[in-house]
């Protein structure tokens, strides 16, 4: 069957199935299991209402459980086992982790991930804050925002191609077609650089791509927060003779600190999972490896599920503090 037809059929089956399930199960509950009539009508209505939330929740919870919760535990189990021929596996304790710790590539990935964690959320937030603050003060601010926000819609792979053109290198006797080299030579550089192969610094050229994408996100959220600041506080500061910089750093920023933290943590999560950019631009060569790409390497190229799962658990471990923090905040908010 043609995939497009199959897709259409899936939509029909999927949507129809969902609607059918919800409709029929509700009908079954109300008419057959606990009919709201007869001698026990009152009790039946109560019982039906006790059961109904679970009818509504069941498909989603099943999908969540199977596709996100169960894999966390299964990955943990896999990270402690070793695959044997013939679909067998054997418990090996922490051997996979030990093997991973002995791999210099792992430490390189961890070190790079830490650098990404420091640089990308910080720069994205700073640029986002700058863009939000500036665009709220000019008439064409909305157009500016649209343009800075636009990279959010571009895939990491598309962004990788875009930036590879920026970093492109030609031999010195030819004209440079990459902007960075053209500028570098224009401002007195002697020889064009292959930017993505310079160890240590090349990671920063990859980070630039993610900063470019995530700044729009930071800007949108922070701009809304900036607008939510009560006018009086700013007016009071102006009356007291504060200059624009003081207003920004001493009045505005402290008031939106909560939002800044949210933006920071959200981008941190994106950074921890960053895969496509590195995969498409350097594939971890020239010391640009990151954890997610290291994991992909181990799982699908080396076919080593044990070490692959172990490195996935490291990513999970790094996400954990943010997960706990989010849950804590969500619960606090609900009270």
């Amino acid at each position: 069957m043609h995939p497009a037809l199959q897709g259409l059929l899936t939509i029909i089956i999927g949507v129809g199935g969902c609607v059918g399930y919800f409709y029929c199960s509700n009908l079954f509950l109300d008419k057959v299991l606990f009919p709201a009539s007869g001698p026990k009508a009152g009790r039946n209505i109560n019982r039906a209402n006790l059961l109904r939330p679970w009818l509504f929740l069941l498909p989603a919870l099943a999908a969540l459980g199977l596709y996100l919760a169960y894999p966390v535990f299964e990955t943990m189990r896999l990270s402690l086992t070793e695959r044997l021929p013939g679909n067998q596996s054997q418990f090996v304790g922490l051997a996979n982790y030990e093997q991973m710790m002995a791999d210099p590539k792992f430490w390189e990935a961890l070190k790079n991930n830490m650098m990404w964690l420091l640089v990308v959320p910080a720069l994205s937030t700073v640029f986002g804050l700058l863009a939000a603050q500036l665009s709220d003060r000019v008439r064409w601010g909305n157009i500016a925002k649209s343009i800075i926000f636009m990279p959010m819609a571009i895939s990491f792979v598309g962004a990788a191609v875009i930036w590879k053109l920026v970093y492109d290198t030609r031999p010195i006797e030819q004209e440079q077609i990459g902007v960075l080299n053209a500028l570098y030579l224009y401002f007195g550089g002697t020889e064009p650089n292959t930017w993505l192969t310079i160890p240590f610094w090349n990671s920063f050229f990859l980070m630039a791509v993610l900063v470019w994408i995530q700044t729009g996100f930071a800007m949108v959220i922070l701009s809304a927060a900036l607008r939510g600041i009560p006018e009086e506080t700013i007016e009071a500061a102006i009356v007291d003779g504060a200059n624009p910089l003081q207003i920004f750093f001493k009045i505005k920023v402290p008031q939106i600190m909560g939002t800044i933290v949210v933006v920071w943590t959200t981008i941190t999560i994106v950074v921890l999972k960053v895969f496509d950019i590195v995969y498409a631009m350097t594939n971890g060569q020239w010391e640009t490896q990151v954890l997610a790409n290291y994991m992909y390497d181990k799982m699908f190229r080396a076919n080593d599920w044990g070490v692959g799962s172990a490195s996935a658990m490291i990513i999970m471990l790094l996400v954990m503090p943010i997960l706990v923090w989010n849950v804590y905040n969500a619960r606090k908010e609900m009270r």
């Binding site: 500036l134 649209s146 053109l165 030819q174 902007v179 700044t215 102006i238 624009p244 999560i269 996935a312």
Partner: protein, 382 residues
């Protein structure tokens, strides 16, 4: 905020200028790719894309027609023609007849050739070569011209990448595959999430708070953890790698955000409407389909855009759950990564392919930016 006291005009200028700089910096990389996708491979390889927007000056070495074309007129041997024959016409600013002096003459002037005879070149490249004796030699005389060339663009790259049936590296198949992945993977999670979100927002039952915390926790679980266990699971139940697997995976991965977004929105709906409907004897199912769902349209749209962008732009999930060794089900992101490997220097192919894949999300983005912003504001965990 425009008229706050204490604003200096120099500050307004500084604000405008720095924002212009920021916007240009953000636009420049994408513009480069877009412009490059409309240039031929020769143009891309010989000059930076930013130079293609203005008329460029080039030094060209052209030749007059060979001596076989000469005609005898009044005892003189004459060759007439256009220097740009078979090439793109340009305007000549200066020209010369020796490689050491390429700018000796202006258009319309006449130069004496060393071997006798004279040549006149006009601004559009028309020339007239006159000689008293018959010319010999297979090749014509060299003329060195400095010409300005108007910006020039082509859509041939797009024809190649999208519509050339013989191009095995073309994007048309991958485009349809991406579409096939995206649409069901966008619609199905909305259905599942809407019901669950309603239960979490408006139904009272023990364990509700715990379930919401569960959803918030799953929001940040890296999908990297799900790859191997789910691939194993798919193999066990017999779907293996394929569309069904990728649809299911995208549905599962999209659900936490969907539930979270929709619940937050539904909680904010007015309590009166729902309670009135309950008093009037509407069943929960009716309340949901007739009241909640239509009212939640903005939140549904927000999530639909998120999920669409995310599934369209995804590489990892498709790599793991969809693309098998035959490569029949390749998606655009994967195709581009392959091109980056095999055609790393052919920017006309790369730029065009990348832009084909970027174009659809960009259109969605500009058409529905409002909902995207709204969704972002509601979806970031506060």
């Amino acid at each position: 905020m425009d008229n706050i006291a204490g604003q200096k005009s120099s500050l307004v200028w500084a604000v405008n200028l720095s924002l212009v700089a920021l916007v240009l910096l953000w636009l420049f990389p994408t513009a480069g790719l877009l412009v490059s996708s409309f240039r031929t491979s020769d143009q891309i390889a010989t000059s930076g894309w930013w130079k293609s927007l203005v008329a460029s000056e080039q030094n060209l070495t052209l030749r007059t027609a060979p001596s076989a074309d000469q005609v005898e007129l009044d005892g003189k041997f004459v060759i007439e023609g256009n220097l740009f024959e078979g090439k793109k016409a340009s305007d000549i600013s200066v020209w010369g007849i020796s490689s050491k002096a390429i700018a000796d003459f202006k258009p319309g002037e006449t130069a004496q050739l060393k071997k006798g005879g004279q040549v006149t070149v006009l601004v559009n490249g028309d020339y007239k070569l006159e000689h008293t004796e018959a010319l010999t030699g297979k090749r014509g005389s060299r003329i060195f011209v400095t010409a300005t060339r108007a910006p020039e663009f082509t859509i041939r790259n797009y024809q190649n990448v999208l519509f050339d049936e013989n191009n095995r590296e073309g994007m048309s198949k991958a485009f349809f595959n991406t579409l096939t992945v995206t649409i069901p993977a966008t619609i199905i999670p909305i259905m599942l999430a809407a019901f669950a979100a309603y239960a979490l927002a408006w139904m009272d039952f023990p364990g509700r708070a715990l379930l919401i915390a569960f959803v918030v926790a799953l929001l940040v679980v890296p999908l990297q953890l799900a790859l191997i266990p789910l691939l194993k699971f798919h193999n066990q139940i017999g779907i293996g790698k394929g569309y069904i697997g990728v649809w299911l995976a995208h549905t599962g991965f999209g659900l936490p955000l969907a539930i979270y977004l929709l619940r937050n929105y539904m909680v904010g709906l007015p309590r009166d409407i729902i309670e009135n409907a309950r008093v009037d004897g509407a069943t929960e199912f009716q309340i949901f389909t007739k009241i909640i769902l239509p009212l939640s349209f903005p939140a549904l749209a927000s999530f639909a855009i998120f999920q669409f962008l995310w599934t369209w732009n995804d590489l990892l999930v498709s790599l793991v759950f969809l693309i098998d060794s035959t490569g029949e089900t390749t998606v655009m992101t994967k195709q581009i990564v392959e091109l980056l490997g095999t055609r790393g220097g052919n920017w006309e192919i790369l730029a065009t392919s990348a832009f084909v894949s970027i174009a659809v999300p960009l259109m969605v983005f500009f058409a529905m930016q409002k909902y995207l912003v709204r969704g972002l504001l509601a979806g970031s965990v506060k």
